[in-house]
């Protein structure tokens, strides 16, 4: 019953124990709350108040009191659980959940660890070299060596930056500031990650919000377009990202399901703002709300009075183990600067929360489920001490981070080297209670949107080819109002392409087709809110955009000057060509069955695939189109140019005329199928 109680009940009847009732152990359930009436009578659903309450049609009596009533299947599950004697835990874990999964084979490990460090699969040559080496030598040694070299790879920053962009709600806009837009502090973050800056220093510099907000400095983190209280927004982000304290509700009222108050958030905002702050009128619960809810005690309370001034104060001494006192003076340059104090309070080694929250987030990224869930809201996870499924392991990982000098890559490496990480991904830990998360196997993870886009480009051997993300190419306007995000070479470098005026002349047709893929797989360039975990439900647009979208259509073509065409021209047999395609796309050799099917198709016409020199007809490249910019975009001709460009992009590059078209199309279709295979988008 745990997932159901956790999702529907534990907000009030967990740590908060409204009405004295907790629903987090059988003992608590049977003892009932303040009423003294057992909420559950084992074996007798009709005598159980809990069942009566969830079935009730009365708004004043039904549980849960807010949100949708429980669904029929949910109610049925509770009823049958009670009828069966209310056994807790509901069923003993199946053996399959307890059996430790075997380590993955070398090819799977290779693909997994590349994706988790540098964000792309290995090249064919890298794959062949590793698989050869792994076949001859001791596994652990070869794997550890590979991990070491990948942790030293500059591309580590290109992969892990997305984690930070989401958590910190980076949201730059190409035109006017709006909708919680920030500066492009991606550049600050990327430098810090590439330079292996210690994490405590990176976070300190972030919180200090320094440098040029529009030119990529951490000051860009401090902006929030159109927001009525930017520092409250930043306080919310900082508390969740670094401390696992969720203050979303505290923006307008005390948290109904947490111990945090509105005052906590605004005290944090005041620390960031270096001066007292008040709750803006637009972040208040209207009085009408409380009046309308008479009859049932309101779940929410607003303890701050309108216009009450909130002074800088560190509200999280209890949760973090560090208090704001003399010892902090020694850690800052200006003890009178509350922003600097906040940075020190978060990143000081005495703060036990920070390192554990980061370690837990990284563990989740790599293993698929957190030791504490939800990763951004530890209080939602239950009582202190019961939160982590493996408290000892969490402490150990946190210590690895602190004692390495807050070396983020060291933490990643410690997890990558573990057997837990290297086992077959057959686990299902993410939905279980802490007691049920055994991590006998890691969870299956889908590639992130960025990994998918980067992997397709890597597999076909083409760089990302889009226009510069800007409308002002020559610096004639200040970056603060007319931004450029440059020409992306990796997927993380894209941004929101909003075309609010709906003008073709303000479209970016090349970038659009890449962003279509990114968005289908859950990336969002307009991060109005911090994203702790992306939505991962599958939807029809995901395979759709890979099957039919312009990006894959163009990249899977054996085009003039493309690497795919070169590969086809230079192949010495269909068999070798098929092996190469599998290695490049799926990081493994084909099975015998697969090889047979693909080789049979590509063998036909293989010997005659090259067009005789005198018959080659080279395509003429189309004339360059004039540059559309902010300054000429209002001319009707600018629309026509961008629409012509759109048609060109959709048409794609001309095919390599040196390849026989009939054979080439079979070859392209084979490549298409590998990229559209489920295996391509799931980490092995």
């Amino acid at each position: 019953m745990w997932p159901l109680f956790r999702d529907r009940c534990a907000g009030c009847h967990g740590e908060k124990s409204q009405g004295g009732l907790k629903l987090d152990s059988l003992e608590a359930v049977l003892s009932g709350g303040d009423s003294g009436v057992a909420s559950v009578v084992p074996g007798d659903p009709d005598a159980s108040e809990l069942v009566e309450r969830i079935r009730s049609d009365s708004d004043g009596y039904r549980m849960p009191p807010t949100g949708d009533p429980m669904t029929e299947p949910e109610i049925a599950a509770v009823v049958s659980w009670v009828a069966d004697g209310a056994v807790w835990p509901g069923t003993m874990s199946a053996d399959s959940e307890l059996a430790v999964a075997p380590l993955v084979d070398d090819a799977s490990f290779l693909r997994r660890v590349y994706l988790d460090t540098v964000g792309v699969p290995p090249t064919r040559a890298e794959a062949e070299a590793f698989l050869r080496g792994a076949a001859d030598e001791d596994d652990a040694g070869v794997r550890d060596e590979l991990i070491r070299s990948l942790l030293d790879d500059d591309r580590f920053a290109d992969h892990w930056i997305s984690f930070w962009l989401d958590l910190l709600a980076e949201n730059p806009t190409l035109l006017n500031a709006s909708l919680n837009s920030t500066g492009p502090f991606r550049w600050f973050l990327h430098d810090a990650l590439r330079d292996r800056k210690p994490l405590d220093r990176m976070v300190t510099e972030l919180i200090l919000m320094r440098g040029d907000a529009a030119a990529g400095g951490s000051a860009g983190f401090g902006l929030a377009g159109e927001n009525d209280s930017p520092m409250a927004a930043k306080g919310h982000i900082v508390a969740s990202a670094f401390l696992g304290i969720e203050l979303q509700c505290a923006r307008c009222h005390d948290s109904p399901y947490h111990s945090t108050t509105q005052g906590d958030l605004y005290a944090l905002a005041a620390m960031l703002d270096r001066k007292p702050v008040t709750v803006p009128p637009t972040s208040r619960v209207p009085d009408a709300f409380f009046e309308e809810n008479e009859g049932r005690e309101s779940l929410i309370r607003a303890t701050l009075k309108p216009d009450e001034s909130v002074t800088p104060r560190w509200p999280f001494a209890a949760a973090t183990g560090i208090d704001d006192g003399d010892e902090v003076d020694a850690l800052v340059r200006d003890p009178g600067d509350s922003r600097e104090r906040l940075a020190a309070l978060i990143t000081a080694p005495q703060n036990e929360r920070f390192a554990r929250v980061i370690a837990n987030r990284v563990w989740k990224r790599l293993v698929g489920a957190g030791l504490v869930e939800p990763v951004g809201d530890w209080e939602g996870a239950g009582e202190e001490g019961k939160r982590a499924s493996h408290p000892g392991l969490l402490d150990r990982l946190a210590r690895e981070l602190v004692t390495s000098g807050y070396d983020f890559r060291h933490l990643v490496g410690a997890i990558l080297r573990s057997h837990t990480y290297q086992r077959e991904a057959t686990g299902n830990n993410v939905g279980d209670s802490p007691a049920g998360r055994y991590f006998a196997a890691p969870d299956r993870r889908r590639l992130s949107a960025e990994q998918i886009v980067d992997s397709i480009h890597a597999a076909v051997g083409e760089p990302i080819d889009v226009e510069e993300l800007t409308f002002v190419h020559d610096g004639r306007r200040p970056l603060a109002s007319r931004q450029t995000l440059g020409r992306p070479s990796r997927a993380w470098m894209f941004g929101d392409l909003k075309n609010e005026r709906d003008r073709p002349s303000l479209s970016l047709p090349r970038a659009r087709h890449v962003v279509d893929v990114l968005e289908a797989f859950g990336w969002n360039g307009a991060r109005q809110m911090p994203i702790s975990e992306r939505e991962t439900d599958p939807n029809v647009l995901q395979p759709g955009i890979l099957a039919n979208g312009t990006m894959t259509a163009n990249l899977t073509r054996a085009a003039v000057d493309s690497d795919l065409a070169r590969l086809a021209r230079e192949a010495d047999s269909a068999r070798r060509l098929v092996d190469a395609l599998f290695l490049r796309t799926l990081t493994r050799y084909p099975t015998d069955d697969e090889r047979q099917a693909f080789v049979a198709a590509l063998d036909e016409g293989f010997e005659t695939r090259l067009v005789a020199a005198e018959e080659i007809e080279w395509p003429t490249p189309p004339a360059e189109l004039p540059q559309v910019t902010w300054f000429n975009h209002l001319r009707p001709r600018a629309n026509e140019i961008q629409q012509a460009l759109e048609r060109r992009v959709r048409r794609g590059p001309p095919p390599d005329p040196r390849l026989d078209p009939n054979w080439r199309e079979v070859y392209e279709d084979a490549v298409w199928s590998l990229i559209n295979h489920r295996e391509f988008v799931w980490i092995p």
Binding site: P3, T173, S178, R444, R446, D516, Q542, P543, P636, E646
Partner: protein, 435 residues
């Protein structure tokens, strides 16, 4: 039970049973959880919404709320054009809306819409799509996503929400999540991105592609991991939807040539496509009137952008009047609510180039069809269309009207996790349209 139960609020139980096949099996792999019965007062009887979006800010004083003529040369505030009578006595329109004029008994120009956002198109566009100010703690869904969320698609094999225009986060599902998002297309010659095959892929090639893919899938290691099985199911759905059957809805050349001509240019063709999508079962369609070829600026008529504004207005007039007549002739007008909306209006006074700036304090959005009791116009502004004189309609009220028209209780709440979020920002439907 070691997967978290889904507790997302969705359709009423009965609707859910009826549409589970559509949404559950076709557009999302994980089935929706059904809420228990909810008493939804079904005030309106509309089944679909076509929302025509005039990006840039349509000047109400030059279109649906005409006043005495002004003169940019002498800087005299007022309308740019003459006004004309309509089918509804006392309701006048700008002279370039001559085809709309005889149809105004099926239309209500809501002349007293207002909000406080002025200078930023993106911010005002967001307001007019979500119906709320930006919040620091929540990303609100667009009205299209709200309707998609509450009503789902009307038939099997149709998506709930299609955007004919540039994709944008302001049209997105916000906290509701990707399942209530849109499919989009920018060119009526093509189906939606991701679900229409590239034109160079013949049926024979597609068959070969699927044969290769079939080999890979057949030889893949069997799995009982729900996540992989769900993803494989979406592959099958996408292959089916990008086939000829669904994409036929986008083939406008199946329409009689005379009808296509009556709709006019590319914008008209978008309107025609929206009718085909209604027939197909799409619940909410946004049609963007984004073609700023005619005057450069589109509806954002600062400075000399205003010189050819009349061409834009005529284009709108031709397309929307054709759409209303076509829907009516096909028996769809009563079931289809049309809304023309825009991010803000424009003031009576002129800027230094003879054009107009922005005005959010009073502007016009237009409703038509949808089974409402239309009255030509609703609400009154002063002689310069600047101050509201009577019957103000806040953006939440406009949204509540749309919700009520399509049978959604405008007083209900959606949920972002535990947090109840009123479906509109405490708006009230325009009662006079429901009498």
């Amino acid at each position: 039970m070691n997967r978290p139960l889904r507790t997302r609020p969705t359709l009423s139980r009965r609707e859910c049973l009826a549409t589970a096949a559509v949404l559950g099996s076709r557009f999302v792999a994980t089935p929706r959880a059904c809420g228990s019965p909810e008493q939804t007062p079904s005030r309106g009887k509309a089944e679909h919404v076509i929302s025509i979006w005039l990006g840039g800010g349509m000047g109400q004083i030059d279109t649906f709320d005409p006043k005495a003529k002004g003169d940019p040369k002498s800087n005299k505030p007022g309308s740019y054009y003459e006004s004309i009578d309509t089918a509804v006595p006392g309701v006048r329109l700008c002279e370039h809306l001559s085809r709309m004029a005889p149809l105004m008994d099926r239309v209500t120009a809501v002349r007293t819409v207002h909000h406080g956002v002025i200078d930023e198109h993106a911010a005002a566009t967001n307001r007019m799509h979500t119906g709320r100010p930006v919040s620091g703690t929540i990303t609100y869904p667009s009205i299209g996503s709200i309707v998609a969320h509450e009503r789902g698609a009307a038939t099997d094999d149709a998506p709930p929400y299609v955007l004919i225009g540039y994709p944008n986060v302001t049209r997105g599902p916000g906290f509701l999540g990707a399942r209530d998002g849109y499919l989009y297309l920018t060119d009526t010659g093509q189906g939606p991105a991701g679900l229409s095959r590239p034109s160079n892929i013949s049926e024979a090639r597609q068959t070969r592609r699927e044969r290769f893919l079939g080999e890979l899938r057949r030889h893949a290691e069997p799995t009982d991991d729900r996540r992989l099985i769900d993803y494989d199911e979406t592959i099958d759905q996408s292959l089916r939807l990008s086939g000829p059957e669904f994409n036929r809805a986008f083939e406008l050349d199946r329409e009689p040539a005379g009808l296509r001509e009556r709709y006019g240019g590319e914008f008209g063709q978008r309107c025609l496509l929206s009718r085909r999508l209604v027939e197909r079962g799409v619940r909410f369609i946004e049609v963007s009137h984004n073609l700023n070829f005619l005057n450069g600026a589109g509806w954002d008529v600062h400075y000399e952008g205003i010189l050819d504004q009349h061409q834009l207005i005529r284009e709108l007039d031709v397309a929307v009047s054709a759409l209303i007549v076509d829907l009516e002739q096909k028996g769809l007008l009563e079931r289809t609510l049309l809304m023309i909306s825009t991010e803000f209006g424009r003031p009576a006074g002129f800027d230094s180039g003879g054009g107009r700036g922005h005005q959010g304090t009073a502007f016009t959005c237009v409703l038509a069809g949808g089974g409402l009791r239309h009255r030509g116009a609703w609400g009154e502004t002063d002689e310069q269309s600047k101050e509201i004189v009577s019957d103000p309609v806040g953006v939440p009220d406009l949204f509540a009207t749309v919700c009520a028209a399509v049978g959604i209780d405008p007083g209900k709440s959606l949920h972002d996790g535990d947090r109840p979020v009123p479906i509109t920002d405490r708006g009230t439907p325009i009662a006079a349209l429901f009498e």
